[in-house]
Every structure is written in C-alpha cells, then in structure tokens.
Amino acid sequence: MQIREEKEGDVLIVSVDDRLDSFTSDEFENLLLQRIESGQRFFLLDWTKLDYVNSAGLKALLLAAKKLDPVKGQIILCGLATNVQMVFDLTGFHHLFTLKPDRAAALECFRERG
C-alpha cells in the first residue's frame, strides 16, 4: 500500500494505492485520525489505484467518519474500482459516503457545499 497526501484549499486529498487490508489499514486509519485530531475536516480519498479493500479498511473509514460527523467534516471518495464498489454496496457504505467518479467531480462537490 502507498499513501500520498496533497492539499487543495481546505481539502486534504489522500491517495491510497494497491490494497487496504488487515496488514495495511492500521497505517491508513492512524493517518486519518491524526489529521482529524490536528483539525483537518475535509477529506477526498482518491482510490483510483486501489484494487482491494476488506473490513479492516472499512473500519478505518467508519471510525474517521464518526469522528468527523460531530465537527461537520466530510469524506468524499472517488475512483472506486468494481471490486471496491461491490464491497461498499454489500455493506451499505454507499449510503454513508459520497462517491464520485473522479477527483474533479469530488472537488466540485466540496466547492458546492461552500
């Protein structure tokens, strides 16, 4: 797994490549929770190059979303591969998170919210 961070205005873009599984999701979870702790509120998770996610990755995402909810933060995901989208559909995560096809659409969604 490889994680990259970029800032676009007040949105932190976090790209995650390869696999988000029981070996790698701790690093992803810690990063999100640390950024939330230090005041980051808007996250765009670019999962275009992510091939695989299991329940450990979902748990990281859910924990972060639960922390962001009371402080009016938001996570938008983009570029979900078919296998990843299927996992979201099966767990109802597609109702919990805003999913966009690509970065541009996701950033547009943040802008519309002001």
Binding site: Y52, L62, N83, L96
Partner: protein
C-alpha cells in the same frame, strides 16, 4: 476435509470447456505471511480453472476475512497451529472448507449488521463476517474433533 481428490483436469479438458473441475488443499501455519501465500495459491488455482473474476474476488475476500479472524481470535497461546483450506471447483459451483484447531467460534452466531442504519448508529465491528455472509450463497459451521470447520459455497454465474 476427507472428500476424495478429483484429479485436476484443467490441462486435459477440451479447449471450449469453460470451467473445469478440480481441487486444491493447502495447509498453513497461523502466521499472516503464510495465509497471504495461501490466498495467492487459491487465486491462482481459481484462475487456472477459469473461475469468473467476480467469484474469485468473492472467495478471496471471504477467505481473507475468515483467516484474519482466526489469526486474531482463535488462539490464546503462542504455539504454532495449522489451518487447512480446501477449495473445489465444479462447473457451476465453488466449495471451500476452512479448518482450524482454535477456540470454538461459530461466525453464524454473530448478529447481522443492519446496513441501513445511519452513520451514528453503525457498529464498527462485525463487517468482516457480514461480508462473508453476503459474498457466499451458503455457509455451514461445524465443531468436530476439537476443530472449527466452516464450509462455504459460491454459485458461479458465467460472464460475471
């Protein structure tokens, strides 16, 4: 795990035979690196048997969730244990067995996750077993001779 071994027919079949019958049995130790190797072998087996990619992903993910659970919760000692996985491919069906000698654990007794709940009411745990249940068509659990034996069944749909 005492079912007879079918000879793997994947190289003997006529070329137009879309899916092949065969089986693989792999034993590994309760070590994350070993279970990763096991998953890779099973994926390769499924590819050789031309299992549709969606079904391969479903089996791979289900095994990942179940093996992760075994590694985390099944053993309270530091000893080496053996986990055995067997997969059988049939023309329209995948069968898998997972056997471990850890604590008795029936995943079917875990309460189902209500995926319609809003964020604030969503439980963080239980998603792994929920995924296994959603991905497979049938799951059976048996505790026999001090071992957990979980049987999974996945129907195969062509072109999926």
């Amino acid at each position: 795990l005492n079912a007879p071994d079918f000879p793997c027919a994947c190289f003997a079949c006529a070329q137009n035979h879309a899916m092949h019958r065969g089986s693989i049995t792999i034993a590994c130790k309760n070590d994350p690196a070993e279970t990763e190797r096991l998953q890779q072998k099973i994926c390769r087996f499924c590819e050789l048997h031309e299992i549709p990619s969606r079904a391969i992903h479903a089996l791979d993910l289900a095994l990942d969730e179940l093996l992760t659970n075994i590694l985390h919760y099944a053993y309270s000692d530091k000893a080496t244990h053996e986990i055995t996985v067997r997969v059988e491919a049939e023309p329209e069906l995948l069968n898998a067995w997972i056997e471990d000698d850890g604590k008795a654990f029936n995943p079917l007794e875990i309460s189902p996750v209500d995926i319609t709940r809003p964020l604030a009411e969503r439980e963080v745990g239980g998603l792994g077993i929920h995924l296994v249940r959603s991905l497979m068509n049938r799951i059976d659990y048996e505790r026999a001779n001090g071992k957990n034996v979980l049987t999974l069944q996945k129907m195969l749909t062509r072109n999926k």
